[in-house]
Symmetry: none
DNA sequence: TTTAGTAGTGAATCTTACT
DNA sequence: GAGTAAGATTCACTACTAA
């Protein structure tokens, strides 16, 4: 039983409970059809805990693209990703972000995922609307699509923004859960997660049900980090319902918005099959650490071996020079530490790390020694 | 000596050289003092190859507010809020980006580095100004500062934007050098590089000379990837001159802008000590694109492949005969090595050099092998 | 049953030079 | 400027087939 005198704190809590919308009145576990801005307008102010949004990226692709083997790349050419200008895309972004901000509780938070095509528009606009960025998160893909024409760097990541309602706003962060998930080290702002394929990728008649389905591991980490059990999560661009599926699994409530009938159907079927995890299973988590693989070029770049350094095999049959990009030059022949070693010996393969040596204080040391030094230096 | 007839390519190059500003008239190897916008105004249009910028982001995004000129805004007398603060920062960003765009050559490029505090402003504005983002690059720090209070994810990365002058603009990318630097795999958009500390970190009286000194490895990769030897690199926020030091080492020209006397002094001392690498060390692996073109007919002409030789694909689905003019014949079909390969496969395109093989001492070799032999033979 | 090899594919702003 | 031809270009992973 409560004490007779109500403290200020208790009064405030009661008052906020009285004005708060009982979550049972919300369309929990439903996918609202039609435009997401209209759909969100049907939800009351300050009623949900989290908005996770995967809006169209506005890719602006040119013509067709073929792989080196001649096969065709199945690109995202859907009508929903087409915008006539940045101005129109910005307007669209302002509208859905404004509704998202309205329905979020004062201590609620926003997540948005995007690529360089759209994320700078989204980031600037959400700042303009008063959202306060807490982190930007890099999803590092283990298996991205390569750059087939060799024209740029492999686009191997996407960006997520995590923002609170404002500079002074409260928000939720399950610090310990994240630390546990990351082998007792603080979870960093770069997450290594494979793209969604294999059994997880939803298919309809043998082809992918949605061109941009996100991996469940990504949503799992987002929801575990920034929501509590029972929280209400809204996804304005629901697609095939990854957010809903993971929310159900983790004991969170969800509401989706999706314009396309087909996606709504696929998502509902998917989420019905999903089973909530029991408490004990929630505690068993694991993650993979990034492998400490080192490219020879990284040593050159970091100055551990300077361009111009001479390297040689143990019997000094060959002497080569290190070049600026980490390649070796021996007479007219050039190549990587492995490739050139292989060529010169006429061997089927060669481990350049142990084949080539450099002189350090009068002593010949294998390149592998420099690699060890480099690893020691970058580990902390 | 050049041939009598000037090709179109040669004429265009000569013409562009006539209008181009001789780089010797630029203030190469100098640090311009004062505001970077004013400093850049002293440089001619379309005169530099690369702008690398590490702009400040602590002007006002948080507690204190400083004007772009460095003067402090008194919060008591100058009423301001978060929105004013973004507006001031945006204005400052538009000004320096506009000058950067003006001084860049049509095939020049821009790099900007920033964190979530400012990079979304910068990214949106540079797109508004017509820059075309080529990649966003994540600098993943091996040794970031932990989040001491456990309130967010460890902020373990910064973001770089690489942009050309426009959607259709040309730009330079040393694809093969990057691939070599990364152990024969395409360089990705996420770069693992340690933060700048230890011996590399410049100190004045025991304390760090500059709060945000960037690692040389980062600039090394940027300059190696997107400039050629002799190119002119401008850094509008020069600080302690990491860009200048690495540019000098890699045989690139540099111009800095820096407002603070102290930093100019530290940077000049630092760069004077830096030694350029010698010619041979600066060489990088060249892509086939940069190699001189060889017509298949030239190989036939020179006797590297005799007319009548049989050529075939790896699976020997098709066998064709080399004709005297360097065309191929397969049954009733004829064409160039590329055209016939394309026709037979029904493929969108075909590289005849790697598709067709010939037999040499019982071993099937691609036509490309003969091309390599030919190139070695004619080189000297 | 196991292994080796082949085919397929993923949010992609993906060529250049000449006629 | 449009059209054409030469020719340069891929990583990780899954699923299936063949031996």
């Amino acid at each position: 039983m409560m004490g007779v005198v109500e403290t200020t704190k208790q009064r405030v809590r009661r008052a906020s409970k009285l004005v708060a919308v009982p979550k049972e009145t919300l369309p929990l576990g439903q996918i609202l059809s039609g435009d997401c801005v209209e759909a969100m307008r049907s939800l009351p102010d300050a009623s949900v805990d989290l908005v996770f949004a995967d809006p169209p990226y506005n890719l602006q692709l040119g013509g067709d693209l073929n792989r080196p083997d001649g096969s065709h790349v199945d690109a995202v050419t859907d009508h929903w990703d087409q915008f006539d200008s940045f101005a129109i895309y910005d307007q669209f972004t302002r509208e859905w972000l404004t509704e998202a901000k309205r329905i979020l509780k004062p201590d609620g938070a926003l997540w948005v995922i995007g690529s360089y095509h759209n994320i700078y528009r989204v980031g600037a606009i959400l700042q303009d609307l008063g959202f306060w960025i807490l982190n930007d998160i890099v999803w590092r893909k283990t298996n991205p699509m390569p750059n087939f024409r060799g024209t740029r760097f492999t686009n191997a990541h996407e960006t997520l923004l995590w923002a609170s309602q404002g500079e002074k706003a409260k928000y939720h962060f399950n610090y310990t859960a994240m630390k546990t998930l990351n082998d007792e080290l603080q979870m960093r702002s770069d997450w290594v997660i494979p793209i969604c394929n294999g059994a997880e990728r939803l298919k309809e008649n043998g082809t992918k049900a949605h061109p941009t389905q996100k991996p469940e591991a990504l949503l799992y980490r987002v929801l575990l980090a920034t929501t509590e059990k029972g929280d209400v999560v809204v996804d304005p661009f629901f697609g095939t319902g990854t957010t809903g599926a993971v929310a159900k699994r983790l004991g969170r409530e969800w509401i989706g918005c999706e314009r396309e009938d087909v996606y709504r159907g696929v998502a509902m079927k998917r989420i019905e099959k999903e089973l909530p995890l029991d408490e004990s299973a929630l505690k068993v988590m694991q993650s993979k650490r990034a492998a400490p693989k080192v490219a020879f070029g990284a040593l050159v770049e970091a100055g551990f071996l300077k361009p111009g350094t001479e390297v040689f095999d143990t019997k000094r049959r060959w002497v080569a020079t290190v070049r600026a990009d980490g390649s070796l030059e021996c007479g007219k022949q050039t190549g990587s530490i492995h490739g050139l070693g292989k060529e010169l010996q006429g061997a089927p393969s060669c481990n350049g790390w142990t084949f080539w040596h450099y002189e350090d204080e009068g002593v010949a040391k294998p390149l592998d020694a420099a690699r060890q030094l480099y690893l020691l230096a970058v580990e902390d």
